[in-house]
């Protein structure tokens, strides 16, 4: 089939729409991961998703439902938790990462959960999205845009000088926790779209590309969104044209864009 023919099929139309929306919005949180030092935290959330998936299977629910629940809980509590214990978000992340993966292995063993079913979470696909999934992606995208639109100056100040933000009266902690929560939800979406091992392709890599080329937060956001859309939609189209798995094609497109930005900046 040619790309034109593919796009007559509702499944592919939906996939392209999801790629455009998810690529354009979820990538806006990449700069949050970089500025708030959440690189370990996002790994922790992924591993908690695995634990959630195992728990879901053990209790007879779908692994994805369990994984999503774990991510929501994790991103709600990890921020305030590390705040309370005065720990670096990175340290808390590492602690929960290993802790939850160990618990998941115990669950696999004790409940006789087939580990391979859970590891299915590691491969996502745009083509498996339902109508409801698409609505969820759109809702999340709208929430991300809304937060940036309403809190742009506050977020800028929290990234630039978190201490001044705090004593000027910006609710810095609440803003950080809200951004962490949105990041968690985005990881859930990315798991569904490109698979757990490739979430960076959707969230982090477009932002890294943008940050190489930007001189202000606004530029970072606009370019992140652009590169995210280009990678997700472009990757999907390439995967159709060349008969490749979509997650891999999206990731490779993103990586190529990043490589190109390194080249351009020279």
């Amino acid at each position: 089939m040619s790309i034109g023919e593919y796009l007559q099929v509702p499944i592919f139309q939906r996939a392209l729409l999801a790629a455009l929306v998810a690529g354009g919005t979820v990538s806006l949180l990449g700069v949050v991961i970089v500025m708030l030092n959440l690189t370990t935290m996002r790994f922790a959330l992924m591993h908690m998703a695995l634990l959630g998936g195992a728990a879901g299977l053990a209790f007879g629910a779908s692994p994805l439902a369990g994984a999503t629940a774990a991510i929501v809980l994790g991103s709600l509590f990890l921020g305030p938790f590390s705040e309370r214990l005065r720990l670096d978000a990175g340290i808390t992340g590492a602690f929960f990462m290993t802790g939850s993966i160990a618990l998941a292995f115990v669950l696999f063993y004790k409940a006789g959960v087939p580990a391979l079913d859970v590891f299915g979470l590691f491969t996502g696909s745009l083509l498996s999205l339902s109508r409801d999934d698409l609505l969820a992606v759109a809702g999340l995208g709208a929430a991300i845009l809304l937060v940036y639109a309403c809190l742009f100056r506050e977020i800028q100040l929290v990234f630039y000088d978190p201490e001044q933000a705090e004593w000027l009266g910006v609710p810095a902690k609440r803003i950080k926790n809200a951004l962490l929560f949105l990041t968690g939800l985005s990881i859930g979406v990315a798991m569904k779209v490109v698979g757990a091992l490739l979430i960076d392709a959707l969230i982090l890599i477009p932002a890294m590309t943008a940050m190489r080329l930007s001189r202000s937060l606004l530029q970072i956001l606009v370019l992140s969104s652009f590169f995210g859309t280009a990678a997700a939609a472009g990757g999907l189209l390439i995967s159709m044209a060349l008969d490749m798995p979509s997650g891999a094609a999206i990731t490779l497109t993103g990586v190529c864009l990043l490589g190109l930005s390194v080249f351009i900046r020279r």
């Binding site: 809190l151 630039y160 970072i220």
Partner: protein, 232 residues
């Protein structure tokens, strides 16, 4: 004296971070428009004194009166922080790409813009004026991360001045600066003084430098003001 006519009046202040108080019965008064230098060894409690004035410490005993208002509650703290500019010790450049102009303008957050209220013409005018005073106007579009140490220090002072404070607290503004930059900074402080009738408290280690900039100097030891040194 009850401190009614003072910019700052502290009496018997005890404050710290936990068990043993760092400030231990500290008293100090600063007249409006006065420039005060604060000297003292490392760990004497100089930075803690600033944090007490800004109401940024967990529990503070004694009286702190800022611009005639007793500072006791959280609201008082916010009131003080909207009138007192603060340049903390050893500020870095941050990691966010941001222009000098935007960084300075952000200092006005909570003054005339926040949440749904965008920065307006007044914010931009004031930012431009301050950048001119501190000599960073030509660098207004430059990325803050690419400034030199002296330029960064002037940037932080600009971020405090743009809030139109009545009192300015400078915590070791000369660290990391070479002699030439210290000179620039001294002239800048003189210029600020001519332009606005600010009350200024400066933590400075260099006695010669303190003499040049301040009307009066105090020495802080073990959480109290030990001696007042006349500056001639």
């Amino acid at each position: 004296m009850d401190g009614g006519s003072c910019a700052l009046w502290l009496s018997g202040v005890r404050a710290g971070y936990g068990k043993a108080p760092v400030l231990n019965g500290l008293s100090l008064s600063v007249k409006k428009g006065e420039h005060l230098a604060i000297l003292g060894e490392n760990g004497a409690g100089k930075t803690t004194l600033f944090r007490a004035i800004l109401h940024l410490l967990p529990d503070i005993a004694g009286t702190i009166r800022v611009l005639g208002r007793d500072v006791k509650s959280r609201e008082d703290g916010a009131w003080v922080r909207s009138r007192v500019g603060y340049v903390p010790q050893g500020q870095g450049k941050g990691r966010l790409p941001i222009s000098v102009f935007e960084a300075v303008m952000l200092g006005r957050w909570g003054k005339s813009f926040s949440y749904f209220r965008r920065p307006g013409a007044r914010d931009r005018e004031l930012t431009a004026e301050i950048l001119d005073v501190v000599g960073l106007w030509d660098l207004r579009d430059k990325d803050c991360r690419a400034l030199s140490g002296g330029q960064t220090q002037r940037l932080h002072i600009a971020r405090a001045l743009v809030r139109e404070p009545q009192i300015l607290l400078l915590d070791e503004p000369t660290t990391y600066l070479d002699d030439a930059s210290r000179d620039v900074l001294a002239r800048l402080i003189d210029q600020v003084r001519k332009k606005w009738p600010l009350t200024m408290l400066m933590i400075i280690h260099d006695w010669q430098y303190a003499r040049r900039l301040a009307d009066r100097a105090v020495y802080l030891r073990r959480g109290r003001i030990e001696e007042c040194l006349e500056v001639v």
